[in-house]
């Protein structure tokens, strides 16, 4: 495990195989919270935090407690992530009220975010070791945050632009997402 492999995993997770634009995961919160920049950044950081934490726990659970029971993957992972998010929420509410207020609304949303579940699955599929999966989780969720911020910026511009009537609202948002995704395809050759 050289440093180059680690950097490759990180860049690939963040940009080349971007969660939203290349894998098309987590579209629901992606379209839902990109209405304005503040909620997009809040959601982005919440996703990074929860994904990294979920990866640590699910990796340990999978590799030490689930030998021979791999078919329970989905059940166990959803269970773990959901209760983990709840624990974090309760803790934040009491001890870091400021952070709870800025992340508060987004934490329950993350519980059912499929991109987080996907990140933990991909870690297992590619049989990454602990450090690698940690880096992959950090990179992939960072990519999700970048995608959120990009679309929030685009949508703030869209609000003042002259959109044809039949494309107003969500249609033009989905078209924008598609165009950004096409642009992201340009990163494909970055890593071999």
């Amino acid at each position: 495990m050289s440093v180059t492999t680690l950097i490759k995993i990180f860049i690939a997770a963040m940009i080349v195989d971007n969660m939203v634009f290349i894998r098309y995961l987590g579209m629901c919160p992606y379209v839902g919270v990109t209405g304005d920049m503040d909620s997009a950044t809040g959601m982005g950081f919440a996703v990074i935090f929860v994904t990294t934490l979920a990866t640590v726990v699910t990796w340990i659970v999978y590799h030490y407690f689930m030998t021979g029971l791999e078919f329970l993957e989905i059940l166990v992972f959803i269970f773990t992530i959901a209760s983990l998010v709840q624990l974090v929420e309760i803790y934040l509410k009491k001890n870091v009220p400021a952070l709870y207020k800025s992340l508060g609304i987004y934490l329950p949303l993350i519980t059912t975010n499929c991109s987080i579940l996907a990140i933990t699955f991909i870690n297992i599929d590619k049989s990454y070791n602990f450090v690698e999966s940690l880096l992959f989780a950090f990179g992939a969720s960072g990519g999700f945050a970048i995608a959120l911020i990009i679309l929030a910026g685009v949508r703030e511009r869209l609000r003042f632009s002259n959109v044809p009537k039949f494309l107003k609202g969500y249609p033009i948002v989905f078209i924008s997402i598609g165009l950004i995704a096409v642009a992201f395809l340009g990163f494909k050759g970055l890593i071999k």
Partner: protein
């Protein structure tokens, strides 16, 4: 068989651990919430409109507990505001207000002096030589208030906003976003005003608009109770404590811009052309 048993045991253990740790965490990190807080949030109604200047009703309720004036919430009914005031030991007088447009210069009424092809937002117009309409004080008509209204109570009809007072909560967001201050917040039950915002002389108003206040003073002369006087911005103001709802001013106004309202009675020739004058 073995694998089924192991699966059940594993899921059981995980479920047990998660459940126990959640309830345990809940007990350790319990946030003590004021009973008053819950009550205040309930009385506020939970519209989360942000008109008070706080992010949501929860934040406002907290601020109220720390001494903020509850009447900053313009959405909750006045009796609820009074109850909140009693809860935190403040005497509060809350009067509900409603928005009224001080302009009748819609499409076909006000003179158009240029074509405007900029951002479709009233707030952008001052940067573009004040837009297409001749009058600098009237409604721009691009519907910024319609989009800002969190309760969907404003509809743009013929270039002017129409307020739906059944949906309106009187939060005042429309009056705040309006760059020309042409939306006035007046008391909900009782108001008397001129539906024009231009302080200019009559001859200048005539040039710009077919339906502006031309400062003729007929309403002041005709009022039997002497309830109408010249206000600060050279527009007539009505002292509603003297008004008897005779409707003479509304009838005699040459450009038909007077509007008198008290309770159920609305004297406004735009809303009700066959005005029945009482006495």
């Amino acid at each position: 068989m073995d694998i089924v048993v192991r699966a059940i045991i594993l899921m059981g253990i995980i479920a047990f651990l998660a459940g126990m740790s959640l309830s345990w965490f809940n007990e350790i990190f319990k946030v003590k919430r004021d009973k008053k807080f819950e009550e205040i949030v309930e009385l506020l109604g939970g519209a989360n409109c942000g008109a008070c200047g706080y992010p949501g009703c929860d934040a406002f309720a907290e601020a109220v507990l720390k001494g903020e004036n509850p009447s900053k919430c313009t959405v909750a009914p006045p009796e609820n505001i009074k109850k909140i005031g009693e809860l935190v030991g403040l005497s509060v007088s809350a009067e509900k207000k409603k928005p009224v447009l001080l302009c009748v210069g819609g499409i076909g009424v006000e003179k158009i002096r240029a074509e405007y092809e900029g951002l479709s937002d009233c707030r952008a117009v001052p940067f573009a030589f004040n837009g297409e309409k001749a009058c600098e004080f009237g409604c721009v008509g691009l519907g910024t208030c319609e989009r800002a209204c969190p309760f969907d109570a404003i509809k743009m009809v013929d270039g002017l906003p129409i307020f739906d007072y059944e949906k309106c909560t009187g939060c005042g967001i429309c009056a705040e976003v309006c760059p020309r201050n042409v939306i006035a917040m007046v008391p909900w039950n009782e108001s008397g005003l001129v539906k024009c915002n231009s302080p200019r002389k009559g001859i200048e108003v005539r040039k710009e608009c077919g339906r502006g206040c031309i400062k003729c003073g007929i309403c002041i002369k005709v009022c039997p109770e002497k309830a109408i006087t010249w206000g600060d911005n050279k527009l007539p103001v009505v002292d509603m404590s003297k008004c008897t709802l005779c409707g003479l001013c509304v009838e005699k106004c040459p450009t038909k811009v007077m509007r008198i309202e008290r309770g159920e009675v609305l004297l406004d020739l735009d809303v009700n052309p066959n005005l029945e004058v009482k006495i």
